[in-house]
Amino acid sequence: MSAAPTPGPMADILQGRARSRQGLFVGWIRALTPANSWPALAGLLVFAAMLALQQLIEPGTQRLLTSVFLFVALAQAWNIIGGYTGYASFGQVAFFGLGAYTVAVLMNNYHVSFWAALPLAVLVGVVFAVAIGLPLLRLRGHYFAIATLGAAEGAREVINNLTSVTGGGGGITIPTFGSDAPTPYFGKPGFYLAFLVLAAVSVVVAAVLARSRFGYAMVAVHEDEDAAGAVGINTTVVKVVAFGVSAAIVACAGAFYAFQQIEFYPTDVFDASFTVLMVIMVMIGGSGSVVGPLAGAVGLQLLSQFLRVNLGNFNQLIFGAIIVLVVVFFPQGVVTYLRDAWRTRQFSILDNVRRYRL
């Protein structure tokens, strides 16, 4: 049903306009000109500004921004598989939980340092993504969504019941103080930096992927999988790799989150509302772009914290109502709406609503 008025990347590939055969990164660097490198410069500026900002703000605000960075990374990760590739995973939290538990189990039971456990956590996430991705990525639409939801619930139950290794429902604690600690605790400033770098890396990964040949293949799979296969794209590889990259970012975020929380339970790190928030942030910002999830994550996380502080008991009610209104008025996402409105010079919100209603 999605209306795609412009000749998309599919046409680019069909007519041989796809850029960069020399591999992902090299091609991207060579293609840089002053005219198209302004997003990278803007990103660098924002990154530097965030570094400077850290010196000015108090610890409470640092913690708030840390959670914003976390959701930027999660939203970018979800956008790779759900936005670009068009496979809406409702089980991304599985990778978050697995990453968190890998780090916690290694640090707690085997006294491994955090920096050694981190790559292993990412590896566990990627292996699990490939293992469930190969069978599940053959399902489409809602079926894929439920299957991944089921996989995440199942993963939580397995962690919950492997009591001897994970502590089960009683939770797990990472030793952080004294001679027991394999890695000294980062503290609020340390985690601010860690999550800032994680968010920056995820934005760069998403941006580089989106402008690569692989990115066009992802969008082609999204727009018409059969046609993509017909022009020679190995759709299975594209889908599994996209799922794996997304899982790697999420697992990495989970690993940092675990260390930040010190003590947590399976219900915390396998909480389905993480997945739902990723989806909402991407959808409200605008899926299939880099700026959309970024704006969605920053906007929604700041909004929800603002409401929590200022509205007390009513905050969730208002938050829900705002989601409903944004979905009704900007069904394609706020950033996508603004971009299209700017290009076509048609700013009427009522026309926008009319386009999608029955």
């Binding site: 999605s2 399902l139 109502a321």
Partner: protein, 295 residues
Amino acid sequence: MSQFLQAAAYGVVQGGLLGLVAVGFSLVWGVMNVVNFSHGALAVTGAYVAWVLNVRFGLDPFLAIPVVAIALFAFGYVVQRGLINLVINAPIFLTLLLTFGLNLVILNGLQLLFKADDRTIDTSYASQSFAIGAVNVPYGRLAACFLALGITVALALLMSRTRLGHAIGATGMDRGAARLMGIRARHIYAVTFGIAAALAGVAGTMIATVGSFNPTTTPGQLTLDAFVISVLGGLGNMYGALVGGLVLGIAESLGGLLLTGTWVNAIAMAVLIVTLIIRPSGLIGKALYSGRVEV
């Protein structure tokens, strides 16, 4: 052995009830391609309506069912007509987001109105039971199960025998063609959602009578159950939802007997995933609208 039979009997009556929760969810999903995240919230809303009627006016929950059904139908109709219809042509996950927001609004509204404690509708008969051999069957659960069966059959007949049912089915199969035949899709969608909301409300009332409910954990659990059952049964398939409910109810109560901890949940999810991979159209027959044009 008697333990086993007891668990099986409990699973059957519980499964019938779960089937009633899922049938409306499955209908909405099958006809409109909308995954209704707020389905559990609607069920709990129905439970609160019946609870208020019971506490204020002393109305028996089984007699309150028509009132609950009408109230929830009206609410569902307005929600679909006024909100969900506005984004029905947008990418499919938008409707899910909308119902997620709706879910937050309903649940937090209920929490502000009624507080977040566990409640139950007290009746003189719900806790009593009769015995068949060594198996105890509680009256309340048995009545709820039969009611669920009756409603499911009635809904299936509505879908197959009436003009309204045919209109719903036609709109679900191909909305464009249905509109060309003079079917008012906006109205039919709203009616469909209203029916689903009414059924959810009735199921919620029954759950409140035979067990307890609260606005924080019950809705999510019900929505997830409805999710699993709809897939097991095949989307938009009324009898499928009932069979799926029975399978889930029996599996959970037998699993609880045989396995330690919550392994049964892990196994339920494994069954769900394997079902999806092998038979995406559900356990019995085929999904009513698997040949849909617009996805």
